[in-house]
Symmetry: C2
DNA sequence: ACCTGAACACCGTTCAAGT
DNA sequence: ACCTGAACACCGTTCAAGT
C-alpha cells in the first residue's frame, strides 16, 4: 500500500490527539505508519512543514460559512470557532501557536475578521491590527485553558477528594473567554465611538 | 571554582542572547561552563526549571516602581515594560511564552495590572480576567514581533536591494503595539462606561 | 516514484563513583 | 556537598541503494 501525504497528516493528528505534542515525533509517526523514518522525508521536507500541514488540518473548519451578518456577531462567532478548533484535539492550541509563524496571517479566518472590522467602520490598516490583537488573545487564552485542562485531568487522579467528579473548568472557561472577547469588541466600539463625536 | 545557581542562569542567558533558544541545550550550557552535563542536575531538577529561572531573570525589571498613578497610564507603562523585557534578549519572548505555564500568574507585574483595573472601577473577578487578556496580547504580539525581527535580520543579507539599511520594522512596531494596547484600554473604558449609565 | 537501511550528529536525564 | 564518567533511551535528518 502506497503512503500518501494525507495519510501522514492523518497519522500525525491521531498521535497528537491520543498522546500529545511531545510524543508526536517523526520516528514514532513512522512507526505507526509502518514505515522507516526516512520515508516521511519524501512527503515533507522537514518536521516543521509536517506540523504546518497538521495545523492547517486542525484549522480547516475556519473556512465554513458564518451565520451572523452584523460585524460584532461575526467577530464573536469567528473567535469562538477558532477556540473550538484549537480545543478539538489534544494540544491543538499549543501546536497551532507554536507553528503559526504567519500561518494565521494567510488564513481565511483572519481575512474575515479584518473585513468585519472594516464593516464596523475601521480603516483597513487599523482593522488589520485589530484582527491580530484578537488572534493573539484567542491563542493565548486557549493555550492556557487547554494546558490547565490537562493539568487537571492528571491532577484529578493524584488529587485527594476530587469533589463529585463533575468536569470542572469547562463551564466557566467559556465565560472567561467571552469576557476577553467582549473587552475586545468594546474596545473597537469605544475607538469608533470617540471618533464619531 | 564552585559553580553556583546564579552562574548557571547567567550562562544560560548568555547562550540565549548570542545563539538563540534552539541552541540553549543542557549539554551546550554545560560545555560553556566547563562542566559535565550531569553537573547541571545538581543545581536544577530539569531543563524546564532552568528555563523558568531564566524567564524570571528576564522579567525581573517588572518589579521596579512605576511612574504613573492613573490607572490607564499604569497599565500602559506596565505593558510597555513587559514588552521591553521580552525584547531585551534574543528569543526572550518565545522563552517566556513557552515557559510561563503560570509563571506570569504569580508575577508581581500581573498583580499590579489587576490592581490598576480595580482602581479603574472593575470588580476583582473581572480585573483578573482583564489582566490575563492584556498579558496574552502582549506576549503574542511580542513573540510575533521578535520572530519577524529575526527573519528580517537573516533575510536582509539574502535579500537584494536592502534599502538604505535603516533598521526597518522597529519604528512602527511600537505604534502597532500601542494600537492593541489602546484597544484594550478602550475596552475597559467602554465596559465601565456602559455600566455607569 | 517511493521507500529501506544505516548512519550522523545530536538531545535530556540518571546514577554510581569519586573528591 | 558538588561533580565526573559513562551510560540509557531517545531525537531530526541525510542519503546511497534498492524496487
Amino acid at each position: 500500500m502506497q503512503l500518501h501525504r494525507a495519510d501522514v497528516v492523518d497519522g500525525a493528528v491521531a498521535i497528537l490527539d491520543q498522546y500529545g505534542l511531545a510524543d508526536l515525533t517523526m520516528r514514532r509517526l513512522a512507526g505507526s505508519l509502518q514505515v522507516q523514518p526516512g520515508a516521511l522525508y519524501w512527503h515533507f521536507p522537514n518536521k516543521q512543514a509536517l506540523l504546518g500541514a497538521v495545523a492547517d488540518n486542525i484549522l480547516s473548519p475556519m473556512d465554513e460559512p458564518i451565520e451572523s451578518t452584523e460585524w460584532s456577531g461575526e467577530i464573536t462567532e469567528l473567535a469562538h470557532r477558532l477556540r473550538d478548533c484549537l480545543l478539538a484535539y489534544r494540544d491543538g492550541a499549543e501546536l497551532v501557536s507554536a507553528t503559526y509563524a504567519s500561518r494565521l496571517t494567510t488564513s481565511k479566518g483572519r481575512e474575515r475578521l479584518v473585513s468585519a472590522a472594516i464593516r464596523a467602520g475601521m480603516p483597513r490598516h487599523e482593522a488589520d491590527l485589530a484582527a491580530y490583537t484578537l488572534l493573539y488573545y484567542v491563542l493565548g487564552q486557549t493555550v492556557d485553558e487547554q494546558s490547565r485542562m490537562q493539568m487537571d485531568s492528571v491532577g484529578a487522579l493524584t488529587d485527594d477528594a476530587s469533589p463529585l467528579h463533575e468536569d470542572p473548568g469547562t463551564p466557566d472557561a467559556t465565560a472567561r473567554f467571552d469576557f476577553g472577547l467582549q473587552l475586545f469588541v468594546g474596545g473597537v466600539r469605544h475607538l469608533l465611538g470617540t471618533r464619531a463625536r
